[in-house]
């Protein structure tokens, strides 16, 4: 167990390191001098040089990378060029919207997809199975932002049940905030749930064909018990793999969906930063999102070991 965990942890760290080099290099080759950008076109050459020095832009690349990554580790992300506030503050404020959104949709995704997949597999070949799979086939094909537009039209414009967009903040307690995040989370989660339910179904069907399922039936276990006690845990392994990959899609999805609902999250921040060429913000947010994908995949890898004893021994 520890050996496997240690191995995954090291691989995760290495991936994180390489990813940070990639993000840093991309920002390095960007055209434009941040110092000049901050000071405007009318700034004198001396002022630009002075600011470059102050920002450490005149140092060699390697030093600047080390400085940047070192800052990341201790939570110092630098200062935004345009907002002139610490990037950390900016990011923290926006993450308070994006993070709950991602978690909420991940929850919704799992809670909907896995039971539906198990249900369809248990009733394989029935009309209920066929109907579920037809709906999921369409669900897979729906772009989340279009689904979001339809939801807004239906629930906010027509039925007026929820606000069409915007975010009241968390200061008024959790309910108004959650209410504002509900539609976005549904829009993000359901198309992904369509994929996951199909994966769950086929994983369950594969497992139900295994020899040990027959052994369990030969013991006298009724079909339903075999499903829960023997099949489910084995089927979880492929399901977890897909769930890990889907988190990356959810992260990308939040960025888009925030634009549909006018949510002040990291997605909106990154687009504003791009148009204002506030590179340090772009860099930090991209790195943060990439890191979260890597960490979730690490968690998935570690949870394999909980599900599958063969990995614990390795």
């Amino acid at each position: 167990m520890t050996r496997y965990a240690l191995n995954r942890l090291l691989v995760g760290l290495a991936t994180l390191l390489v990813a940070s080099v990639i993000v840093f290099s991309v920002m390095e080759i960007l055209p434009g001098d941040p110092a000049r950008l901050m000071l405007g076109i009318n700034a004198t050459e001396d002022a630009v040089v002075a600011l470059r020095q102050q920002m450490g832009l005149d140092q060699p690349v390697v030093l600047r990378y080390l400085h940047w990554i070192g800052g990341m580790v201790v939570g110092d992300l630098g200062r935004s060029y345009t907002y002139s506030v610490p990037v950390l503050e900016l990011v923290a404020e926006r993450a308070a919207v994006s993070l709950p959104l991602a978690i909420l949709s991940l929850l919704l995704l799992t809670v909907v997809a896995i039971p539906v997949g198990i249900f369809a597999a248990a009733r394989r070949g029935s009309a209920a199975d066929a109907a579920t799979m037809a709906v999921s086939q369409i669900g897979v094909a729906i772009p989340n932002f279009w689904f979001a537009l339809l939801l807004v039209y239906l629930f906010a414009v027509w039925l007026r049940l929820v606000p069409a967009g915007g975010f009241p903040g968390w200061s008024a307690g959790p309910w108004p905030g959650l209410k504002a995040l509900l539609l976005p989370a549904v829009a993000l989660a359901l198309p992904q749930a369509a994929i996951l339910s199909r994966v769950t179904r086929s994983a369950m069907i594969d497992v139900l064909g295994e020899d040990y399922i027959r052994t369990a039936r030969a013991k006298g276990l009724p079909r339903a018990q075999v499903l829960w006690r023997h099949a489910l845990r084995n089927a979880l392994i492929p399901v977890l793999t897909i769930l890990g990959l889907q988190f990356a899609y959810l992260i990308a999805g939040t960025i888009i969906i925030e634009n549909v609902f006018y949510l002040p999250g990291l997605g909106r921040l990154i687009f504003q930063a791009i148009t204002q060429r506030d590179l340090i913000v772009v860099e930090s947010v991209v790195m943060l999102l990439v890191a979260s994908v890597i960490i979730v995949n690490l968690i998935v890898d570690l949870s394999y070991a909980i599900v599958d004893p063969r990995l614990r021994a390795a």
Binding site: R3, G125, E210, D211, Y212, R214, T215, A216, R217, A218, K219, G220, L221, P222, R223, R229, H230, R233, N234, V307, D308, P309, R310, A313
Partner: protein, 540 residues
């Protein structure tokens, strides 16, 4: 009154008829052997009794188990019977256990289900059962997972699950086919003892007449979904009244005729003949899996300094159990694996040095035939291209000559030149093995390594392939290195034998000498464990 009475059982799956008018009866405490080749319907007969048939199965007739009509019973009634009154052991111990549950949980599960025992009681009974099947809890705690056990040990767990509640009927479907012979003997002994001590009836399904001869009170012989012959075991096997039973018995004891005397090492040495293959102090090792970051244990030595010769025209057998290093040795001779040390000279060419040209030259004279007639061909290529593959080493041959050679190789193995345009899936298992031999022959090799070439085949097909191999040897003077775990096949075909264990030869010599008067304890164990129809009948 019979414990189990099957009357006129019919089964169709989809629209395909599988079983026709199968009638069988088992008395309490009786052992019935159900014998047949692959596809005879013997396993599906057993699954009908369990009512665990695949989707789309339609049954007719009647199966009466101690007064319950199984084909009409409710699913709840069947769940109560399964595991409690009828237990079942399957063929593949490697996949029969749930990999994510401990063996203790898996044995205790049935006990709790049927007796309502508490967790602790069930665990205690599971531990007793483990003890009984030869897995003392001190060495094999209930918290072990299946992947921590060997195949034989897993089969013991499966038996523990099946017998935990003293069922009145135990069904064992090819319970030892996937196991090595010495393990097979142990598992059969265990089953025999359990059945006797708990007065269970046993339905033993097997393809091996040697196995049933030593186990069964009565025997039923099946083919294509029908029972052809049945009766008390010993008379049925001795008198062989039914032609199919006779064919099976004769095929399993078949010895191909050898033209010319066997080639023995000591005679060849006396004549100072040069061996075709000379292996000296050969060591092959694999790097061990890394433990921790920097620590790497010493490499695993699969072959530990073996020496032997093969003379041209000689048939050398290599026997040993799975994992003993015989396949590694074969791969090394073929130049697919570099030895760590030792020499390997084939026809004057040094293969062990890793000299690419020597290996290429040697490979023209060196071929292989594999066990699995299904996996040994690229399903997308036609026979012509498949059989011609070794001719890659002879770019000097023209297209017409290559075609000619393929045609001649096909004819040599009893196929026709017209088969060249077909795909491998159009052939039966036995014919595919002929194709594999044709591929090995196309380069007119001096040595063919045959790695378990008949162990995946039914007995009647096996006899034909052995005849073919023997005939080719006599006609073309080919030498074989014949790798097998089946001693009867080795005795039928080979001149000399090497007995391998844990990477070393423990005994060697002419086949009859070694098998009739084994000197090493391991060889003795091996020969005693091998199921043998004649010996079993002699003892009966």
């Amino acid at each position: 009154m019979a414990l189990l009475a099957i009357r006129d059982l019919g089964l169709t799956i989809g629209r395909q008829p599988i079983l026709k008018d199968v009638s069988l009866a088992i008395e309490p405490g009786e052992v019935l052997g159900l014998v047949g080749e692959s596809g005879s319907g013997k396993s599906l007969t057993a699954l009908s009794v369990m009512r665990l048939l695949p989707h789309g199965s339609v049954t007719s007739g009647s199966i009466d188990f101690a007064g319950t009509e199984i084909l009409a019973a409710s699913e709840a009634r069947m769940c109560a019977l399964r595991g409690d009154d009828i237990g079942m052991v399957f063929q593949e111990p490697m996949t029969a256990l749930n990999p994510v549950k401990t063996i203790g949980e898996q044995i205790a599960e049935g006990i709790r289900l049927h007796t309502g025992a508490s967790r602790a009681e069930a665990a205690a009974r599971a531990a007793q059962m483990m003890e009984r099947v030869g897995l003392p809890v001190a060495d094999f705690p209930l918290s072990r997972f299946p992947h921590q056990l060997s195949g034989g040990q897993r089969q013991r767990v499966v038996i523990a699950i099946a017998c935990a509640l003293n069922p009145r009927l135990l069904i064992a479907d090819e319970p030892t086919t996937a196991l090595d012979v010495t393990i097979q003997a142990q598992i059969l002994d265990l089953l025999r003892d359990l059945v006797r001590e708990r007065s269970m009836a046993l339905l033993l399904i097997t393809h091996d007449l040697g196995v049933v001869a030593g186990m069964a009170d009565r025997i039923a012989v099946m083919r294509s979904g029908e029972i052809l012959d049945h009766g008390p075991a010993v008379p049925l096997l001795r008198q062989r009244r039914h032609p199919y039973t006779r064919r099976l018995a004769e095929a399993s004891a078949h010895v191909p005729t050898r033209r010319g005397a066997p080639i023995l090492d000591r005679a060849a040495r006396a004549e100072a003949r040069r061996p075709l293959l000379e292996v000296r102090e050969l060591v092959v090792q694999y790097p061990a899996a890394r433990r921790g970051l920097f620590r790497r244990p010493p490499p695993f030595r699969a072959v530990r300094g073996v020496s032997f010769d093969i003379y041209s025209g000689q048939t050398m057998a290599l026997v040993g159990e799975s994992g003993c290093g015989k396949s590694t040795l074969a791969r090394t001779i073929l130049g697919l694996q570099r030895p760590a040390s030792g020499t390997l000279v084939f026809d004057g060419l040094d293969i062990a040095s890793g000299d690419g040209q020597a290996i290429a030259a040697a490979r023209r004279e060196l071929q292989i035939v594999f066990q699995d007639p299904y996996g040994s061909f690229n399903p997308r290529h036609r026979v012509e291209r498949l059989v011609a593959e070794p001719l890659f080493l002879r770019p000097e041959l023209g297209r017409a000559e290559k075609q000619e050679r393929v045609a001649r190789a096909l004819e040599a193995v009893g196929l026709s030149a017209g088969d060249a345009a077909k795909y491998p899936h159009e052939f039966s298992g036995g014919q595919r093995q002929r194709l594999a031999i044709a591929r090995a022959l196309v380069n007119r090799p001096k040595l063919i390594i045959a790695d378990e070439p008949v162990s995946a085949l039914d007995v009647s097909i096996r006899a034909q392939i052995l005849d073919l191999l023997s005939d080719l040897r006599d006609r073309f003077g080919i030498a074989y290195l014949f790798i097998s775990h089946d001693l009867s096949v080795v005795r039928a075909l080979c001149d000399e034998v090497l007995v391998m264990r844990q990477g070393e030869f423990v005994e060697r010599g002419p086949v009859d000498e070694v098998f009739d008067r084994p000197s090493h304890p391991y060889t003795r164990e091996l020969t005693a464990a091998a199921p043998d129809l004649e010996r079993a009948l002699a003892q009966a």
